[in-house]
Protein backbone atom coordinates (compact mmCIF):
# COMPACT_ATOMS: atom_id res chain seq x y z
CA UNK A 1 0.00 0.00 0.00
CA UNK A 2 1.45 3.30 -1.06
CA UNK A 3 0.88 5.64 1.80
CA UNK A 4 2.42 8.62 0.13
CA UNK A 5 3.05 9.69 -3.45
CA UNK A 6 6.69 9.42 -4.58
CA UNK A 7 7.04 13.17 -5.28
CA UNK A 8 5.85 13.90 -1.76
CA UNK A 9 8.24 11.31 -0.36
CA UNK A 10 11.19 12.94 -2.09
CA UNK A 11 10.06 16.32 -0.88
CA UNK A 12 9.98 15.04 2.71
CA UNK A 13 13.38 13.38 2.39
CA UNK A 14 14.88 16.52 0.91
CA UNK A 15 13.22 18.55 3.65
CA UNK A 16 14.74 16.27 6.28
CA UNK A 17 18.21 16.55 4.80
CA UNK A 18 17.86 20.32 4.55
CA UNK A 19 16.76 20.53 8.19
CA UNK A 20 19.78 18.52 9.32
CA UNK A 21 22.26 20.59 7.35
CA UNK A 22 20.48 23.62 8.83
CA UNK A 23 21.16 22.19 12.28
CA UNK A 24 24.82 21.85 11.38
CA UNK A 25 25.01 25.44 10.20
CA UNK A 26 23.19 26.55 13.34
CA UNK A 27 25.64 24.90 15.73
CA UNK A 28 28.51 26.61 13.90
CA UNK A 29 26.85 30.02 14.23
CA UNK A 30 28.68 32.23 16.72
CA UNK A 31 25.60 34.04 18.03
CA UNK A 32 23.72 30.79 18.53
CA UNK A 33 26.73 29.35 20.36
CA UNK A 34 26.66 32.38 22.67
CA UNK A 35 23.00 31.74 23.55
CA UNK A 36 23.62 28.05 24.10
CA UNK A 37 26.58 28.75 26.42
CA UNK A 38 24.18 30.55 28.79
CA UNK A 39 22.92 27.12 29.85
CA UNK A 40 26.30 26.67 31.58
CA UNK A 41 25.32 29.30 34.17
CA UNK A 42 21.96 27.60 34.73
CA UNK A 43 23.71 24.25 35.26
CA UNK A 44 26.27 25.82 37.58
CA UNK A 45 23.74 27.61 39.77
CA UNK A 46 21.41 24.61 39.95
CA UNK A 47 24.14 22.11 40.72
CA UNK A 48 25.83 24.34 43.29
CA UNK A 49 22.48 24.87 45.05
CA UNK A 50 21.87 21.13 45.11
CA UNK A 51 25.37 20.00 46.06
CA UNK A 52 26.43 22.78 48.49
CA UNK A 53 29.39 21.36 50.47
CA UNK A 54 28.53 17.69 49.79
CA UNK A 55 31.50 15.40 49.25
CA UNK A 56 32.13 13.53 46.04
CA UNK A 57 31.70 9.77 46.51
CA UNK A 58 34.75 7.99 47.89
CA UNK A 59 35.66 4.42 47.09
CA UNK A 60 37.56 1.49 48.60
CA UNK A 61 41.09 0.19 48.00
CA UNK A 62 39.68 -2.68 45.92
CA UNK A 63 38.05 -0.23 43.51
CA UNK A 64 41.33 1.47 42.53
CA UNK A 65 41.94 1.28 38.76
CA UNK A 66 45.04 -0.62 37.70
CA UNK A 67 45.02 1.21 34.38
CA UNK A 68 44.48 4.80 35.55
CA UNK A 69 44.78 6.78 32.36
CA UNK A 70 46.82 10.03 32.36
CA UNK A 71 44.84 12.99 31.05
CA UNK A 72 46.39 15.89 29.15
CA UNK A 73 50.16 16.05 28.78
CA UNK A 74 52.37 13.37 30.30
CA UNK A 75 55.91 14.78 30.33
CA UNK A 76 56.43 18.56 30.10
CA UNK A 77 59.22 19.82 27.82
CA UNK A 78 59.69 23.07 29.78
CA UNK A 79 63.43 23.58 30.47
CA UNK A 80 62.92 24.62 34.08
CA UNK A 81 60.71 21.57 34.63
CA UNK A 82 63.24 19.24 33.04
CA UNK A 83 65.96 20.60 35.38
CA UNK A 84 63.74 20.25 38.46
CA UNK A 85 62.80 16.71 37.48
CA UNK A 86 66.50 15.76 37.03
CA UNK A 87 67.05 16.78 40.64
CA UNK A 88 64.05 14.89 42.01
CA UNK A 89 62.16 18.19 42.54
CA UNK A 90 64.39 19.08 45.51
CA UNK A 91 64.63 22.68 44.25
CA UNK A 92 60.94 22.92 43.40
CA UNK A 93 59.08 25.79 45.05
CA UNK A 94 55.34 26.26 44.69
CA UNK A 95 54.74 29.99 44.36
CA UNK A 96 51.54 31.34 45.91
CA UNK A 97 51.03 35.01 45.10
CA UNK A 98 48.65 37.55 43.59
CA UNK A 99 45.96 38.93 45.91
CA UNK A 100 47.45 37.49 49.10
CA UNK A 101 48.85 39.16 52.23
CA UNK A 102 51.79 36.72 52.49
CA UNK A 103 53.22 35.39 49.23
CA UNK A 104 54.65 31.89 49.67
CA UNK A 105 57.33 29.71 48.08
CA UNK A 106 56.67 26.19 49.36
CA UNK A 107 59.03 23.25 48.93
CA UNK A 108 57.65 19.71 48.70
CA UNK A 109 58.77 19.21 52.31
CA UNK A 110 56.78 22.30 53.35
CA UNK A 111 53.73 20.96 51.51
CA UNK A 112 54.03 17.56 53.18
CA UNK A 113 54.03 19.25 56.59
CA UNK A 114 50.74 21.00 55.88
CA UNK A 115 47.36 19.55 56.92
CA UNK A 116 46.64 16.77 54.45
CA UNK A 117 43.77 14.65 53.22
CA UNK A 118 43.73 11.19 51.63
CA UNK A 119 40.85 10.18 49.37
CA UNK A 120 39.95 7.41 46.93
CA UNK A 121 37.91 9.07 44.24
CA UNK A 122 36.90 8.71 40.64
CA UNK A 123 38.39 10.80 37.91
CA UNK A 124 35.89 11.61 35.17
CA UNK A 125 37.43 12.76 31.92
CA UNK A 126 35.45 15.09 29.67
CA UNK A 127 35.85 12.42 26.98
CA UNK A 128 33.69 10.06 29.00
CA UNK A 129 36.04 7.60 30.71
CA UNK A 130 36.47 7.07 34.44
CA UNK A 131 39.43 5.86 36.51
CA UNK A 132 39.60 5.48 40.29
CA UNK A 133 42.69 6.45 42.27
CA UNK A 134 43.90 7.19 45.78
CA UNK A 135 45.28 10.66 46.34
CA UNK A 136 47.09 12.30 49.23
CA UNK A 137 47.87 15.98 49.31
CA UNK A 138 47.93 19.27 51.17
CA UNK A 139 44.56 20.83 51.67
CA UNK A 140 44.25 23.78 49.31
CA UNK A 141 42.32 25.63 52.03
CA UNK A 142 45.32 25.34 54.37
CA UNK A 143 47.72 26.69 51.73
CA UNK A 144 45.41 29.63 50.95
CA UNK A 145 44.89 30.33 54.64
CA UNK A 146 48.64 30.50 55.18
CA UNK A 147 48.98 32.95 52.29
CA UNK A 148 45.96 34.90 53.62
CA UNK A 149 43.74 35.82 50.69
CA UNK A 150 42.84 39.46 50.28
CA UNK A 151 39.08 40.15 50.38
CA UNK A 152 38.99 41.06 46.69
CA UNK A 153 40.35 37.64 45.63
CA UNK A 154 37.60 35.78 43.75
CA UNK A 155 39.50 33.05 41.94
CA UNK A 156 42.68 31.06 42.24
CA UNK A 157 44.56 30.45 39.03
CA UNK A 158 46.90 27.47 38.61
CA UNK A 159 49.82 28.16 36.28
CA UNK A 160 51.45 24.99 35.00
CA UNK A 161 54.74 23.87 33.47
CA UNK A 162 53.16 21.82 30.71
CA UNK A 163 52.03 22.67 27.22
CA UNK A 164 49.51 20.31 25.63
CA UNK A 165 51.60 20.02 22.46
CA UNK A 166 54.52 18.87 24.68
CA UNK A 167 56.85 21.51 23.24
CA UNK A 168 58.95 24.16 24.94
CA UNK A 169 57.16 27.01 23.11
CA UNK A 170 53.58 25.75 23.43
CA UNK A 171 50.84 27.63 25.32
CA UNK A 172 51.21 26.71 28.98
CA UNK A 173 48.33 24.92 30.66
CA UNK A 174 46.41 26.87 33.24
CA UNK A 175 43.16 26.54 35.13
CA UNK A 176 41.05 28.57 37.53
CA UNK A 177 38.47 27.83 40.22
CA UNK A 178 36.50 30.10 42.49
CA UNK A 179 37.03 30.48 46.24
CA UNK A 180 34.15 28.23 47.43
CA UNK A 181 35.44 25.37 45.25
CA UNK A 182 39.03 26.00 46.44
CA UNK A 183 37.87 25.68 50.05
CA UNK A 184 35.92 22.45 49.47
CA UNK A 185 37.09 19.69 51.77
CA UNK A 186 38.28 17.44 48.95
CA UNK A 187 40.23 20.15 47.09
CA UNK A 188 43.85 19.11 47.61
CA UNK A 189 47.29 19.64 46.09
CA UNK A 190 48.18 15.99 45.60
CA UNK A 191 51.79 14.81 45.95
CA UNK A 192 50.97 11.10 46.29
CA UNK A 193 48.98 8.72 44.13
CA UNK A 194 48.10 5.16 45.19
CA UNK A 195 50.50 5.44 48.17
CA UNK A 196 53.48 6.40 45.99
CA UNK A 197 55.12 9.65 45.01
CA UNK A 198 52.98 11.26 42.31
CA UNK A 199 54.26 9.91 38.96
CA UNK A 200 55.44 12.29 36.24
CA UNK A 201 52.62 11.33 33.89
CA UNK A 202 50.03 12.17 36.53
CA UNK A 203 51.41 15.66 37.21
CA UNK A 204 54.49 15.50 39.49
CA UNK A 205 55.46 17.19 41.67
CA UNK A 206 51.92 18.36 42.49
CA UNK A 207 48.55 18.39 40.82
CA UNK A 208 45.16 19.65 41.83
CA UNK A 209 42.40 17.22 42.84
CA UNK A 210 38.95 18.73 42.53
CA UNK A 211 36.61 15.82 42.91
CA UNK A 212 33.30 17.40 41.88
CA UNK A 213 34.44 18.52 38.44
CA UNK A 214 35.86 16.93 35.30
CA UNK A 215 39.50 15.97 34.79
CA UNK A 216 40.59 19.00 32.79
CA UNK A 217 39.95 21.28 35.79
CA UNK A 218 42.55 19.35 37.81
CA UNK A 219 45.72 21.14 36.73
CA UNK A 220 48.90 19.03 36.70
CA UNK A 221 52.57 20.16 37.00
CA UNK A 222 51.56 23.21 39.04
CA UNK A 223 54.18 25.94 39.10
CA UNK A 224 52.34 28.82 40.67
CA UNK A 225 49.01 29.59 42.32
CA UNK A 226 47.81 33.13 41.80
CA UNK A 227 44.85 34.70 43.60
CA UNK A 228 42.98 37.10 41.29
CA UNK A 229 39.82 39.15 41.15
CA UNK A 230 39.28 38.29 37.48
CA UNK A 231 40.99 35.99 34.98
CA UNK A 232 40.08 38.10 31.95
CA UNK A 233 43.73 39.14 31.41
CA UNK A 234 45.14 35.59 31.54
CA UNK A 235 45.52 33.49 28.39
CA UNK A 236 42.55 34.22 26.13
CA UNK A 237 40.52 35.25 29.15
CA UNK A 238 38.18 32.30 29.60
CA UNK A 239 39.80 30.93 32.77
CA UNK A 240 41.72 27.95 31.46
CA UNK A 241 43.54 26.30 28.60
CA UNK A 242 40.51 24.26 27.51
CA UNK A 243 38.07 27.01 28.41
CA UNK A 244 39.95 29.21 25.91
CA UNK A 245 39.18 26.48 23.35
CA UNK A 246 35.42 26.34 23.91
CA UNK A 247 35.02 24.08 26.94
CA UNK A 248 32.95 25.13 29.94
CA UNK A 249 34.58 26.90 32.85
CA UNK A 250 32.11 25.13 35.12
CA UNK A 251 32.92 21.46 34.59
CA UNK A 252 30.62 19.91 37.18
CA UNK A 253 28.55 18.32 34.43
Amino acid sequence: MTAIRPDRRHLLLAGGALALSGCDRLVRNAEAQCTVKKAEQVSKRTQRALARDALAPEYQEKDISKDFRANGSVDPADAEYVALKANGFRDYRLIVDGLVETPLALSLTDLRRMPSRTQITKHDCVEGWTSIGKWKGARLSAVLDRARLKPEAKYVVFHCFDALDQTEEGDRYYESIDIPEAYHEQSILAYEMNDEILPIKHGAPIRLRLERQLGYKMAKYIKRIEAVESFAHIGRGKGGYWEDRGYEWYAGI
Partner: protein, 253 residues
Protein backbone atom coordinates in the same frame (compact mmCIF):
# COMPACT_ATOMS: atom_id res chain seq x y z
CA UNK B 1 -10.84 19.44 26.73
CA UNK B 2 -12.48 17.67 23.84
CA UNK B 3 -14.29 19.49 21.09
CA UNK B 4 -17.37 18.18 19.24
CA UNK B 5 -16.81 16.17 16.05
CA UNK B 6 -17.00 18.01 12.75
CA UNK B 7 -18.73 15.92 10.05
CA UNK B 8 -17.24 16.10 6.58
CA UNK B 9 -18.63 14.89 3.25
CA UNK B 10 -18.41 11.26 2.07
CA UNK B 11 -18.85 9.64 5.48
CA UNK B 12 -15.78 11.30 6.94
CA UNK B 13 -15.56 12.90 10.32
CA UNK B 14 -13.02 15.22 11.89
CA UNK B 15 -12.38 14.41 15.51
CA UNK B 16 -10.45 16.51 18.05
CA UNK B 17 -7.34 14.51 18.80
CA UNK B 18 -4.38 16.61 20.00
CA UNK B 19 -4.94 19.71 22.17
CA UNK B 20 -2.43 22.56 21.87
CA UNK B 21 -0.13 21.60 24.79
CA UNK B 22 0.31 18.12 23.32
CA UNK B 23 1.11 19.45 19.85
CA UNK B 24 3.58 22.08 21.08
CA UNK B 25 5.41 19.74 23.46
CA UNK B 26 5.51 17.04 20.77
CA UNK B 27 7.36 19.23 18.28
CA UNK B 28 9.62 20.78 20.90
CA UNK B 29 10.50 17.23 21.90
CA UNK B 30 11.28 16.31 18.29
CA UNK B 31 13.75 19.19 18.05
CA UNK B 32 15.29 18.36 21.45
CA UNK B 33 15.71 14.67 20.68
CA UNK B 34 17.32 15.29 17.27
CA UNK B 35 19.85 17.69 18.82
CA UNK B 36 20.39 15.53 21.91
CA UNK B 37 20.99 12.41 19.84
CA UNK B 38 23.38 14.02 17.37
CA UNK B 39 25.35 16.02 19.96
CA UNK B 40 25.31 12.90 22.16
CA UNK B 41 26.99 10.95 19.37
CA UNK B 42 29.52 13.80 19.09
CA UNK B 43 30.30 13.31 22.79
CA UNK B 44 30.52 9.52 22.38
CA UNK B 45 32.90 10.10 19.48
CA UNK B 46 35.51 11.49 21.92
CA UNK B 47 35.80 8.05 23.55
CA UNK B 48 33.70 5.55 21.56
CA UNK B 49 33.95 2.72 24.10
CA UNK B 50 31.39 1.60 26.66
CA UNK B 51 31.97 -0.22 29.94
CA UNK B 52 30.02 -1.61 32.88
CA UNK B 53 30.85 -0.77 36.49
CA UNK B 54 32.47 2.04 38.45
CA UNK B 55 35.39 2.76 36.12
CA UNK B 56 36.64 2.15 32.59
CA UNK B 57 38.47 -1.11 31.92
CA UNK B 58 40.32 0.21 28.90
CA UNK B 59 41.59 -3.17 27.71
CA UNK B 60 38.21 -4.79 27.96
CA UNK B 61 35.36 -2.53 26.85
CA UNK B 62 31.86 -3.96 26.66
CA UNK B 63 31.25 -2.28 23.33
CA UNK B 64 33.56 -0.32 21.02
CA UNK B 65 32.83 1.70 17.92
CA UNK B 66 35.68 2.05 15.46
CA UNK B 67 34.56 5.50 14.48
CA UNK B 68 31.32 7.41 14.47
CA UNK B 69 30.55 8.96 11.06
CA UNK B 70 30.37 12.74 10.93
CA UNK B 71 26.92 12.87 9.32
CA UNK B 72 25.49 11.41 12.55
CA UNK B 73 26.99 14.11 14.76
CA UNK B 74 26.55 17.79 15.44
CA UNK B 75 28.73 19.55 14.51
CA UNK B 76 29.67 17.28 11.60
CA UNK B 77 33.38 17.52 12.44
CA UNK B 78 35.05 16.54 15.73
CA UNK B 79 34.23 19.20 18.31
CA UNK B 80 33.54 17.84 21.76
CA UNK B 81 33.28 21.30 23.38
CA UNK B 82 30.52 22.50 21.03
CA UNK B 83 28.78 19.13 21.21
CA UNK B 84 28.66 19.36 25.02
CA UNK B 85 27.43 22.96 25.07
CA UNK B 86 24.53 22.16 22.74
CA UNK B 87 23.78 18.86 24.48
CA UNK B 88 23.30 20.51 27.88
CA UNK B 89 21.33 23.43 26.41
CA UNK B 90 18.81 21.05 24.84
CA UNK B 91 18.85 18.84 27.92
CA UNK B 92 17.41 21.76 29.89
CA UNK B 93 14.70 22.40 27.28
CA UNK B 94 13.94 18.67 27.12
CA UNK B 95 13.45 18.55 30.90
CA UNK B 96 11.26 21.68 31.04
CA UNK B 97 9.20 20.49 28.06
CA UNK B 98 8.83 17.00 29.52
CA UNK B 99 7.66 18.40 32.86
CA UNK B 100 5.03 20.56 31.16
CA UNK B 101 3.78 17.58 29.15
CA UNK B 102 3.66 15.16 32.10
CA UNK B 103 1.83 17.68 34.31
CA UNK B 104 -0.60 18.36 31.47
CA UNK B 105 -1.52 14.73 30.76
CA UNK B 106 -1.82 14.05 34.48
CA UNK B 107 -4.12 16.96 35.35
CA UNK B 108 -6.14 17.13 32.13
CA UNK B 109 -7.11 13.47 32.39
CA UNK B 110 -5.45 12.70 29.05
CA UNK B 111 -3.28 10.06 30.69
CA UNK B 112 -6.36 8.08 31.79
CA UNK B 113 -8.41 8.85 28.68
CA UNK B 114 -5.86 8.32 25.92
CA UNK B 115 -2.93 6.32 27.26
CA UNK B 116 -4.07 3.98 30.00
CA UNK B 117 -5.02 0.61 28.47
CA UNK B 118 -8.22 -1.03 29.75
CA UNK B 119 -8.30 -4.59 31.11
CA UNK B 120 -10.19 -5.72 28.02
CA UNK B 121 -7.56 -4.21 25.76
CA UNK B 122 -4.76 -5.89 27.67
CA UNK B 123 -6.59 -9.23 27.44
CA UNK B 124 -6.69 -8.87 23.64
CA UNK B 125 -3.10 -7.79 23.37
CA UNK B 126 -1.92 -10.87 21.40
CA UNK B 127 -4.65 -10.34 18.74
CA UNK B 128 -3.71 -6.68 18.47
CA UNK B 129 -0.06 -7.59 17.99
CA UNK B 130 -0.96 -9.93 15.11
CA UNK B 131 -3.16 -7.28 13.48
CA UNK B 132 -0.49 -4.65 13.91
CA UNK B 133 2.16 -6.94 12.42
CA UNK B 134 -0.06 -7.33 9.33
CA UNK B 135 -0.11 -3.53 9.12
CA UNK B 136 -3.89 -3.55 9.52
CA UNK B 137 -4.73 -0.35 11.30
CA UNK B 138 -8.04 0.27 13.08
CA UNK B 139 -10.62 2.19 11.09
CA UNK B 140 -13.85 4.03 11.81
CA UNK B 141 -14.89 4.36 15.44
CA UNK B 142 -12.02 2.09 16.51
CA UNK B 143 -9.61 4.74 15.20
CA UNK B 144 -10.95 7.29 17.67
CA UNK B 145 -8.47 6.21 20.33
CA UNK B 146 -4.99 4.77 20.34
CA UNK B 147 -4.83 1.00 20.08
CA UNK B 148 -3.39 -1.01 22.94
CA UNK B 149 0.09 -1.40 21.37
CA UNK B 150 0.30 2.34 20.84
CA UNK B 151 -0.78 2.97 24.41
CA UNK B 152 1.80 0.59 25.87
CA UNK B 153 4.58 1.88 23.62
CA UNK B 154 3.86 5.51 24.47
CA UNK B 155 3.75 4.67 28.17
CA UNK B 156 7.09 2.83 28.03
CA UNK B 157 8.71 5.76 26.21
CA UNK B 158 7.14 8.40 28.46
CA UNK B 159 7.50 6.73 31.83
CA UNK B 160 10.61 4.58 31.37
CA UNK B 161 12.90 5.53 28.48
CA UNK B 162 12.74 9.33 28.64
CA UNK B 163 13.08 9.52 32.47
CA UNK B 164 15.92 6.99 32.21
CA UNK B 165 17.74 9.34 29.82
CA UNK B 166 17.49 12.12 32.38
CA UNK B 167 18.52 10.02 35.39
CA UNK B 168 21.50 8.34 33.68
CA UNK B 169 22.55 11.72 32.26
CA UNK B 170 22.52 13.34 35.69
CA UNK B 171 24.44 10.37 37.13
CA UNK B 172 27.37 11.19 34.85
CA UNK B 173 27.81 14.66 36.37
CA UNK B 174 30.49 14.67 39.10
CA UNK B 175 28.74 17.46 41.01
CA UNK B 176 25.43 15.58 40.88
CA UNK B 177 27.28 12.51 42.21
CA UNK B 178 28.05 14.59 45.30
CA UNK B 179 24.54 16.08 45.47
CA UNK B 180 22.67 12.75 45.08
CA UNK B 181 25.14 10.05 46.22
CA UNK B 182 22.44 7.33 46.06
CA UNK B 183 22.14 7.58 42.29
CA UNK B 184 25.42 5.94 41.18
CA UNK B 185 25.17 2.80 43.36
CA UNK B 186 21.61 2.22 42.06
CA UNK B 187 22.85 2.39 38.46
CA UNK B 188 25.98 0.35 39.16
CA UNK B 189 28.62 3.08 38.85
CA UNK B 190 29.40 5.91 36.48
CA UNK B 191 30.46 3.81 33.53
CA UNK B 192 27.29 1.73 33.86
CA UNK B 193 25.32 4.97 33.92
CA UNK B 194 27.06 6.05 30.72
CA UNK B 195 26.31 2.71 29.02
CA UNK B 196 22.67 2.82 30.17
CA UNK B 197 22.43 6.39 28.82
CA UNK B 198 23.52 5.07 25.44
CA UNK B 199 21.16 2.08 25.56
CA UNK B 200 18.18 4.28 26.46
CA UNK B 201 19.14 6.65 23.62
CA UNK B 202 19.15 3.73 21.19
CA UNK B 203 15.75 2.64 22.57
CA UNK B 204 14.30 6.08 21.92
CA UNK B 205 15.88 6.20 18.47
CA UNK B 206 14.34 2.82 17.62
CA UNK B 207 10.97 4.07 18.82
CA UNK B 208 11.31 7.24 16.74
CA UNK B 209 12.18 5.30 13.58
CA UNK B 210 9.25 2.88 13.98
CA UNK B 211 6.94 5.74 14.96
CA UNK B 212 7.76 7.73 11.81
CA UNK B 213 7.51 4.59 9.68
CA UNK B 214 4.04 3.77 11.02
CA UNK B 215 2.94 7.38 10.59
CA UNK B 216 3.89 7.04 6.94
CA UNK B 217 2.18 3.65 6.56
CA UNK B 218 -1.02 4.66 8.29
CA UNK B 219 -1.67 7.97 6.57
CA UNK B 220 1.05 10.59 6.87
CA UNK B 221 -1.05 13.58 5.82
CA UNK B 222 -3.84 12.87 8.27
CA UNK B 223 -1.40 12.12 11.07
CA UNK B 224 0.80 15.14 10.47
CA UNK B 225 -2.23 17.41 10.11
CA UNK B 226 -3.56 16.08 13.41
CA UNK B 227 -0.30 16.86 15.20
CA UNK B 228 -0.30 20.36 13.66
CA UNK B 229 -3.97 21.43 13.77
CA UNK B 230 -5.34 19.00 16.35
CA UNK B 231 -8.02 17.58 13.98
CA UNK B 232 -7.87 13.98 12.85
CA UNK B 233 -10.08 12.50 10.14
CA UNK B 234 -11.82 9.15 10.60
CA UNK B 235 -14.30 7.31 8.39
CA UNK B 236 -17.68 6.76 9.99
CA UNK B 237 -18.91 4.08 7.59
CA UNK B 238 -15.80 2.25 6.50
CA UNK B 239 -16.28 0.65 3.11
CA UNK B 240 -14.67 -2.76 3.15
CA UNK B 241 -11.48 -3.04 1.07
CA UNK B 242 -11.67 0.27 -0.76
CA UNK B 243 -8.98 1.45 -3.09
CA UNK B 244 -5.61 2.30 -1.70
CA UNK B 245 -5.71 6.10 -1.78
CA UNK B 246 -7.84 6.09 1.34
CA UNK B 247 -4.86 5.09 3.37
CA UNK B 248 -4.46 8.72 4.41
CA UNK B 249 -7.39 8.27 6.72
CA UNK B 250 -6.03 5.48 8.78
CA UNK B 251 -4.75 5.40 12.27
CA UNK B 252 -1.42 6.76 13.41
CA UNK B 253 1.15 4.92 15.42
Amino acid sequence: MTRPDRPLALGRLEIWRHPLPVRVTHWVNVICLVFLLMTGLQILRAHPHLYWGLASTFDDPWLSFGSIPGWLTLPGYRDLATGRNWHFFFAWIFVANGMIYLLYILFSGRLARMLEPSRAELAHLPDSVVEHARLKFPEGEAARTYNVIQKLTYLIVLLILLPMMLVTGLAMSPTMNAAIPELLPILGGRQSARTLHFIAAMGITTFAVVHVLLVFLSGPVNNLRAMITGWYVIRTDPEPETEEETSDDRDPS
